[in-house]
Amino acid sequence: MSRQQAQKVIVAIITAIAALVVIPTILVIAFIVIQGIGAISWEFLTAMPRNGMREGGIMPAILGTVLLTFGTFIACIPLAIGTAIYLAEYAGENRLTRWVRLAIVNLAGIPSIVYGLFGLGAFVLFLKLGTSILAGSLTLGIMTLPVVISTAEEAILAVPQRFRVVSLSLGATRWQTIRHQVLPHALPGILTGVILGLSRAAGETAPLLFTVAAFYLPDLPASWFDQTMALPYHLYVISTQVPDMPVSIQYGTALVLLLFVLSLTLVAAIVRTRMRRRREW
């Protein structure tokens, strides 16, 4: 076999392997869409569940997931971006930053059920927040920290160093330099990390188990201190805990969760490409 032929074979194999990754993704999405699309209706999206959740809609679970995602955003993002700016711009290499980085790596490796137990111990019991949207948001927020910190720090470090040096040489302070020359260019990358982190949080079940999620609630939550239903946990409940559950409602719920998470990812992709297009250098 000549070198050129070998080259072609290798490329073909690698392409095939790459294509293999796409197949499960398409299969999962297609399967859920086909099975679940029949259940989707205006009532399904906007009504309370009825008859032991076997009929009616899943509106409380949708609302709960939206609230939890928003709460996670508030709990996580300022802290994460502040940390990323500190690590990338202010902190040198010292013992503190080594510890912070070690903590981030370890946070990323903790199983989500452990976050759930931590949330139960720290927020629900110790801080006496009870099982509440607040406790759930804080738990999800901490779980989301490492991915947002890492992506934000990478985005900040990717801004060319010469912009910082030029800005400083023109008499800008360090913070002015970060504010005017670093963050605007790092924003697309930071937003991508934020939205990917949030979409992961939106799909999590385990951290919600002991901190916020309710099996069934007749009323919508009235404050951040109430429990709520949430899509991932609701899906678990109706798939395993309720006898005689219509399959279409299970797949319908899965489809709604999938669409919610995918739409977040889509927003991230659109924001990123639009902002990248404006970039000049």
């Binding site: 040198g92 010469r162 912009f163 910082r164 040096v165 030029v166 800005s167 400083l168 040489s169 023109l170 008499g171 800008a172 302070t173 002015q176 005017h180 020359q181 605007p184 260019h185 970039r279 000049e280 250098w281």
Partner: protein
Amino acid sequence: MPMEPLLSIKNLYFTYEDEIEALRGIDLDIYPHEVFVLFGPSRSGKTTLLRLLNRLSDLKTGCSRQGLIEFKGKNIFAPDVVASDLRRNISMVFAVPSPLPGSIYDNLTYGLRMAGIRDTTVLDEQVVKSLQQAALWDEVKDRLHKSAFTLSGGQQQRLCIARSLALEPEVILLDNPTSGLDPLSTSVVEDSLQELKQHYCIIMVPHSVQQAARIADRAGFMLDGELIEVERGATLFTRPRDQRTEDYITGRFG
């Protein structure tokens, strides 16, 4: 010279993190309204010295320094000196043309805006004045709000010079500003320097010995972190005192 020096460097030593001594015992006075040229082979400490003068050297961690740099009689490393104020007075132009993302106008007004000047009449005035001084006004007056990256390399470099001038500094540091430019743009920049020294003190690392000889009022030859010889340009490039200076000028090394 009878005048008070504007910048006075006294027994300056500087060592990088990797323990390499970049500067060894530099003593140098620089006066207003002169073009002072610092030349020598690469890695002789020219850029290091330039970056110390407006404390851009602060950005590197793990360095150590001894000795003094006085700007108008005051130690620039004194704790009450604010680096950003110092850099407005001692402005730097880099070897690579380095516009900031944004329009020509944004670039020119950046330093002033960061200094808290919001008055658009003041900003507009400085834009016109600095562009004229850098010999760029005629070429860009109709497209001030276009991206700075639409300019050619030579224009970008003159924009960077104008951007420094807009701050009305007292000293302009030019670190090999013509390195990436064609001969024509180089001569435009060199010519504008002669104008600029009426208003500013210019310290420049040149692209070549020839360029140094063309523009220097006074020149200093650096080698291995030491300042070998400082003289008026006319003298230094024709009758150097030190053998090493002569060897370098005549092209025997470097």
